[in-house]
């Protein structure tokens, strides 16, 4: 069956997420194309459409995945351990989102940007500890996608 752009985009999106969950890294377009039986140029076009629709984010000027929220392709200050694997979230929301998306127990370890003390959040059976840290949002919600990397 020939994939239309819409079905190809769905196929690519799902493949990207499942690949990142399984392999702790994003797939390259050639890997996606090989798996889906289509050319890497078609895959790159699909990735561009997905990025334009804010379904994932490409590294600037490239066809390579920067993040597929909540999973970040690159190391970040918010490493996550869940399901026996290590991932990264681009921010604390996404780091906790990885645990939520996988439906696993997990942890996020980071440093306080002010004092440098290590902080570890543990999620067990849907409950999070400790509870006395705070999360600051700098950018109002309406402007998050103006510069999603900064947000």
């Amino acid at each position: 069956m020939v994939s239309t752009p819409s079905t190809l985009d769905d196929d690519v999106r799902v493949f990207v997420y499942r690949f990142m969950v399984d392999n702790e890294r994003p797939p390259m377009p050639i890997e996606i194309g090989t798996a889906l039986g289509t050319g890497s140029a078609e895959v790159e076009a699909a990735l561009k459409r997905l990025a334009d629709a804010h379904l994932l984010v490409l590294a600037p000027g490239t066809p390579y995945i920067w993040f597929a929220n909540p999973l970040s392709a690159l190391p970040s200050p918010y490493p996550v351990v869940a399901g026996g694997k290590q991932y990264f979230g681009i921010c604390i929301w996404d780091a906790l989102g990885v645990i939520a998306m996988l439906g696993e127990d997990g942890s996020v370890t980071s440093l306080c940007p002010d004092c440098g003390d290590e902080m570890t959040l543990l999620v067990r059976d849907g409950e999070i500890e400790p509870r006395d840290y705070v999360v600051h949002y700098a950018i109002p919600a309406a402007y998050w996608w103006d510069d999603i990397g900064y947000t």
């Binding site: 604390i92 996404d94 939520a100 002010d114 840290y133 705070v134 919600a141």
Partner: protein, 73 residues
Amino acid sequence: MLLFRAEDHRDKWLAQRGLRHGATLSVVQQWDLARTWYGDNRLSRDWRRRTPEEAQAVFDSLGLTGPFWNLSP
């Protein structure tokens, strides 16, 4: 979205950079937002991105209201 040890650490960090306070969530609020937002079966082929109205409804359901959380200012 940055995680701080406490509000006074947040305030000091912002002041040193001349940045204004935006919005602050407790860890529990952040976890509730994360699991509502991302516990949406996005590994499924049937997943669809929320409309702005649906996203706004998520914020509203968690008490995240006011101009900062308004997606259509």
